[in-house]
Symmetry: C2
Subunit: 343 residues, 2 copies
DNA sequence: CTTAGCACTCGAACCTATAGAGTGCTAACA
DNA sequence: TGTTAGCACTCTATAGGTTCGAGTGCTAAG
């Protein structure tokens, strides 16, 4: 068990290291007014903390830095959230200042502001497009042999894809097809669209449309969404500002991993409610073993969710980021739900 | 005037430095079979080349590296284009392998392949969306108070934006409006859209639609396109592979500049036909003074153009990149024009 | 005109000494 | 008994010195 004093010293050590990025020594600490002890006393306590695995030395006679376990304890027990400075609150609220009507636009702005406020990298995951439902389908012919298929969802999101149409097709057939599609598929989620397309409309096409087979096949291919996940990054270059990252190779593999959208689920695991902090090797990806990631979910209405992640060095300003994310996730949920309801 | 031998030695020196990234010495060069001279002879020639400003020394007793003037001369007079290896040609052609119908998709893939083939950063500028013409306008109401405006262009590009609609508006009015818009504005370029909207449709709205003013105002705001230029990047992280860039601050300001789309016109000036090479400080942006940029334009049909840029170190493999860009720009023009014609 | 020879220069790598920050331990102190 | 002063010790970072090697410029011989 840790004594009061040890706790205090652990906290101050971590705080100091977070701020200075330099190993912390007992002399330095003894100068702080929170710690009215002599360097020797602090040394003893730090030695204990090291024995227990909360602190580490970079070499025999250096000051100490928090270990992974040290950060973990700090985050779990020593984080005294402090209200955000007004300046920050104002800036967070500026996200919603202009009356933006688009979910995606709001999310993009959130990412930007967040990366500016933290100086870390912000990754925002929008709500899963596949849960959106079809509001309107349309097909706009572009010329003799191609057309663009457009799907508008209830959220105002628009998916579109150009696809080839069989040559010599009667334009009125396309019109018929669009009507049937809208009649049958309005309200279907994008996820089910592909399946329902066959179930509900194929037989009707067969009855009403000449040469339905070719048209149907190419259209179906167009609406299989190899949609990019809607991930928004901001402040990718902020990593380069951190003194913790000096090794170009590490930076590269880190940036590589973050760009690659297939790694997103590893960085911000879905389905976790509330705020999550992963420190160093607690991250699944080895390229991120020197990083900490803080994630939080937000909600849009009752069903849809998105998530926010901040990626920074292990030595990140947890206190500040946690408060920022807490606030933003609340605001974002409120605002986006309001937007959704309006529709 | 330069002698034959000096030319040869300049060329080999630049070639060697491009390959090795190390200052080139006379001993090293004398071992090459292209240069059957003694080190002393080569030394004399190199001393001359230095006096004339084509080569530089990093310090008194070091080997030499090409100066800006040296690169310029090399590029202007000593570049002997060499046919592309089959491997590269195959990979370039793989861009058009799948029958992709979308211009944007083709451009994206080109950027990717190009950055892979060169190991530099590729920036591709798509054709100016503002020159595309309206194929179909539509408005899809999302609920009581908002709707999404959709513009499909002749190229198959889709612009969309959510905008608020006045509460209590008659849905049939929207339908009327869409009909009028399509009747009057089909074929208008996106650039002129805003102007023509007022000229051609406002008076008609006045006659046919109740409360046209509010609807018109918000709709007009929606179709003012603060469209992102369609710029596609690939291989942004390739800079980190170059041994020339070790200073994290320089890397950061370079990456910063490249991300910011407002700098794009500075990086790849429009309106230049043919292939352009800018070396070091020939670039307008000071963040790019250690880079070379090679740009080339491509055409889509008779009117539209886009451009391709490769950003790498001054010590870039000009020969290879020039050939690659020449080939790709031709292929791209052909393929995209074909795509356009089909519509 | 070319080249061999040679003295010279400079950076990179390595060693050494020193200063300074920090530690652990012991003994004195309240 | 817990706290602190004192002290020897450790290790890094820095600066200075030496050596090695690659490269140069110049001169004189071929």
């Amino acid at each position: 068990m840790l004594t009061e004093r040890q706790l205090l010293i652990l906290k101050v050590t971590v705080d100091d290291y977070i701020e200075s990025a330099q190993p912390v020594g007992s002399n330095q600490l003894s100068k702080k007014s929170e710690l009215p002890f002599s360097p020797a006393t602090i040394r003893n306590a730090m030695a204990d903390l090291e024995k227990m695995g909360f602190l580490e030395k970079t070499h025999t006679s250096s000051g100490r830095i928090p270990s992974q376990k040290g950060y973990r304890y700090y985050v779990d027990h020593l984080l005294t959230p402090r209200p955000l400075p007004k300046q920050d609150i104002l800036q967070l609220q500026s996200i919603f200042d202009d009356k933006i009507a688009e979910t995606e636009e709001v999310i993009k702005r959130s990412a930007m502001i967040l990366s500016e406020l933290t100086n870390y990298t912000a990754i925002l995951l929008g709500p899963d497009v596949r849960k959106h439902t079809v509001k309107r389908l349309s097909i706009v012919p572009l010329g003799a042999d191609s057309a663009v298929a457009i799907i508008v969802t209830d959220s105002g999101h628009v998916e579109n894809r150009v696809f080839p149409i069989p040559p010599g097709l009667d334009p009125s057939d396309i019109e018929k097809m669009v009507n049937i599609l809208n009649e049958r598929l309005a309200g279907v989620s994008l996820n089910d669209l592909h399946m329902r397309l066959e179930q509900e409309t194929l037989s009707i096409f067969r009855q009403h449309i000449n040469r339905y087979a070719e048209l149907f096949t190419t259209f179906r291919q167009a609406v299989v969404l190899p949609h990019e996940d809607n991930v928004y990054y901001a402040g990718k270059l902020n990593i380069l500002k951190q003194p913790d990252f000096h090794d170009i190779h590490k930076i590269r593999s880190l940036m590589d991993v973050m760009e690659e959208s297939k790694h997103i689920p590893m960085i911000m695991p879905a389905g976790s409610l509330g705020l999550q902090i992963r420190i160093g090797s607690e991250n699944t990806l080895s390229a991120m073993e020197d990083c900490s990631v803080i994630t939080v979910a937000y909600a849009i209405g009752e069903e849809q969710t998105g998530s926010i992640a901040i990626v920074g060095p292990k030595r990140m300003d947890y206190k500040r980021v946690v408060t920022l994310l807490d606030t933003l996730s609340g605001d974002l949920s409120k605002e986006l739900t309001r937007l959704l309801r309006g529709k």
